[in-house]
Amino acid sequence: MSRPLRRWAGALLIVFAAAVAATALGSVRVNVRDVLAILASRLPWVGSLIPRTWSAAHQAIVLQIRLPRVLLALVVGGGLSASGVLFQGSLRNPLADPYIIGVSSGASLGAAVALLLVIPKGWAGYASLPLFAFAGAVLATLTVARLGQRRGRLEPTSLLLAGVAVGAFLTAVVSALMVLRIENLQDVYLWLMGSLSGRTWVHLSMAAPYVFSGLLLALWLAKDLNIYLLGEEAAHSLGVDVQRVQRLVLIIGSLMAAACVSVTGVIGFVGLMVPHALRLLLGAENRRLILHSFWVGAVFLLAADTLARSAFAPLEVPVGIVTAFVGGPFFIYLLKRGSSFYG
């Protein structure tokens, strides 16, 4: 096997091993062999050949509770990280993240409206919540994009400023709603911190199509994004339609992030930290960076979520707290180490 091929096989193996281990771990321990057997029994053709040595309860835990959550952690972790690469590239700012132009504040408002005004208490089962959050994210992003234009062209600095302004405004609205409807405070608060608790196949099916089609489109645009990093005039001279690429990249990144946020709530740091750290390791070439960010982000969020649900079991910590807890110190370390990196 060639070297890059071997590397990708290695990455896939790590993802698979992490997924199996995370499925086995939890308040009820299922041994790894049973997890593998249960998974194999669902395969077409060979599935019926697997002898059934596990209990029905274990099968339900693996297939109905843990597997969708594990897969969702992978999809959301990968989606946020790949989206982070797109935002850092299109804003030419290594400290940008998928939330910087309004996705999270918009989604938060959408979710808060749903939880406080529309959906009755005990929300976890309501599949309409992500729809509200998604609509909020898209509306907020469109507003920021509209405000971030000067003479009909998107400008990174204007976009960042508009993102901060709109974000602050929407966050204030969310806070006001929370104060007004204090009896539902906890639901909103937990959502704002981001969690994978209680998420099912429905949630996975909402996020996955956006994340995977976004990933493919991002790879398709990676070469343009490389050139785009040189600056607008240089990119134009190298045959890149700068405004078109910027628009596409922002749309793709926002949709990926919005799909993730709307099913899990606001999970911070993944989309900022993973691309940033990998850029330090691998350099700025975007095709490589997008692919590696995707799998590393996926495994990172899965590890964080597994920790979140098993460290203080049966109590669950919102995964956003874990990512920030790990992310903060890690970022300080990067800052100390790579200060001359962007010259």
Partner: protein, 254 residues
């Protein structure tokens, strides 16, 4: 035959024209200098030549054809522009120069052996081959400028436009850069550079365009153009008529 030609070109960002009724032409194999005081429209002129901005009035021609008829991808194979400032994300020097080959391979493809060879040659000519694996963001100003020039060389265009390629460089690097550009022009490339240092323009350019307030004030070989009267009028500086004792080219010093 003219490589590029501007015919009565006017451009404005707002109401006030930045470039006003400029007509000029450039031949292959010549090194052109674009000079003028701040705000004279030099950078704008270069962007018009590159097609980055479109004239409000008048026409830009490349090989006798209206620049607007060229696609973006086609233009990238004809004209290279090095803007005043570049961003330096952590690409290696080689990756950065390889971006100059981007117009020649497909979006999902990888550079061919020929692309690699051209990149290597460009790095050698500009004296940065030993930096190939270094991060462009970690280099000094002079090294970065050479990386940018190597990238433009790798693009292998017949027209090379540079916006202040010598600013922020020390004397040695200023002169080396101009020599490099002069040599490129001798290979048949049309080179045009915005230069702030009139002495560099006087020493190396075959032909200079003097812009003032968006208009082409004067043009011609430096020894005919850089007369004390013109310097006084355009740059508001009084200079004596000096000439280089060896080359006979004008020297502009107060």
């Amino acid at each position: 035959m003219d490589k590029m030609r501007l015919e009565n070109v006017t451009f404005a960002y707002g109401a006030e024209p930045v470039v006003h009724g400029v007509s000029l032409s450039m031949k292959p194999g010549h090194f052109y200098g674009v000079v003028g005081p701040n705000g004279a429209g030099k950078s704008t002129l270069l962007k018009l030549l590159d097609g980055f901005i479109r004239p409000r009035e008048g026409t830009v021609y490349l090989d006798g054809k209206d620049l607007r008829t060229f696609s973006l991808a086609r233009l990238a194979r004809e004209i290279a522009l090095i803007p005043q400032s570049s961003y330096y994300f952590p690409f290696t020097v080689e990756e950065m120069v390889m971006l100059g080959r981007a117009p020649f391979y497909s979006r999902l493809g990888t550079p061919s052996a020929r692309d690699r060879e051209i990149v290597r040659a460009s790095m050698e000519i500009t004296g940065i081959a030993h930096l190939a694996g270094r991060l462009a963001s970690s280099l000094s100003g002079g090294e970065r400028q050479r990386v940018t020039i190597a990238r433009a060389f790798a693009q292998e265009t017949k027209v090379l436009l540079l916006d202040e390629p010598t600013t922020h460089l020390d004397l040695e690097h200023q002169i080396n850069t101009c020599r490099l550009l002069q040599r490129k022009s001798r290979e048949g490339v049309t080179v045009a550079a915005v230069l702030h240092d009139l002495n560099l323009a006087a020493s190396f350019c075959d032909h200079v365009f003097v812009l003032a307030e968006g208009r082409l004030r004067e043009e011609g070989p430096p020894e005919e153009v850089f007369k004390p009267e013109l310097i006084a009028e355009v740059f508001r500086v009084t200079v004596p008529p000096l000439h280089h004792p060896l080359t006979g080219r004008p020297i502009i010093a107060p």
